[in-house]
């Protein structure tokens, strides 16, 4: 089982520049909230975005 939860967002602004036309400026993005994974039935569900992983030796 896999479950992804997030928010897609967008913000834009339209303005009229007269003889220079109509303009639009915007930005889009996705904010990921959770990435649940259940690999084996009976084991806890893990969240890939909220899990503490082992430190990586440099």
């Amino acid at each position: 089982m896999a479950q992804d939860v997030g928010i897609d967002w967008t913000a834009s602004y339209d303005f009229d520049a007269g003889d220079f036309g109509a303009w639009n400026a915007g930005i889009v993005g996705t904010y990921y909230l959770h990435d649940y994974q259940l690999t084996v039935v009976g084991t806890p569900i893990t969240d890939g975005f909220h899990s503490t992983v082992a430190s990586v030796a440099e």
Binding site: M1, A2, V5, W9, T10, S12
Partner: protein
């Protein structure tokens, strides 16, 4: 010489046809030769000389008599002295072997479209016959389930008109839930897929087999680790 008198039989004597269906004696001269003819009559039509053999027809009768004997019992080999051996062994690793020795995980019915294939049909001498449609098998020991996805979303938009006209802000909250995800594809290495555990899914009627000469087991569940 004894011949069973029962049963219908016909005989021609000098162009006259006599027919009887009882045990009454026919109107022909009874002799050992006639008895033989009566015994052999059901096997086919006979000539006049066959019924009443005379000097000039003796050769024909003798030939017929030998043929008759061959058809009935004496000289014709009715028992097979040579043993005929028919084996049902299949080449290790071939599709026939996978049909005779189903291994590599539990089977389940394939979709109707796949079942239309007539490539594989295994018959056995004792009326055993495997199902004529191909079956999918998985080698990871777990039941393969259908992958299902559930998606939910909720969105909102804000576009003020009293100030900052032209501003538009949208946000969509989503949730995607997927069940039956295939994620264990074995352990990819530089060596080819040589063991059954690394073969994820195959159709049992396909040519899934090791390379010729590389089988290590008769049921072809494993192959040697060589390319």
């Amino acid at each position: 010489m004894h011949c069973p008198a029962s049963g219908a039989w016909n005989s021609k004597v000098r162009g006259v046809t006599t027919s009887t269906a009882t045990s009454a004696a026919p109107a022909i001269r009874r002799s050992p030769s006639t008895e033989c003819v009566r015994r052999c009559r059901p096997h086919g039509p006979w000539l006049l000389g066959d019924i009443v053999p005379r000097a000039g027809l003796r050769r024909t009768f003798t030939a017929r008599q030998q043929q008759c004997s061959g058809l009935e019992h004496p000289t014709f080999p009715t028992t097979v002295s040579q043993a005929i051996t028919i084996t049902c062994n299949a080449d290790p690793g071939s599709a026939a072997t996978s049909c005779r020795i189903p291994r590599l995980g539990p089977p389940f019915r394939a979709p109707r479209l796949l079942r239309r294939s007539s490539a594989s049909r295994c018959s056995f001498g004792d009326n055993r016959q495997l199902r004529p449609f191909p079956r999918l098998r998985q080698s990871i020991g777990q039941r393969l389930v259908r992958r299902r996805r559930q998606t939910g979303a909720s969105a909102g938009e804000f576009a003020p008109t009293a100030f900052l006209r032209g501003l538009d802000i949208q946000a969509t909250w989503y949730q995607i839930k997927i069940n039956g995800v295939l994620q264990a594809f074995g352990n990819p290495t530089s060596t080819p897929s040589t063991t059954a555990a690394r073969i994820l899914l195959y159709r049992s009627d396909g040519p899934v087999r090791c390379r010729p000469g590389l089988q290590t087991t008769s049921d072809a569940t494993t192959c040697p680790n060589s390319s």
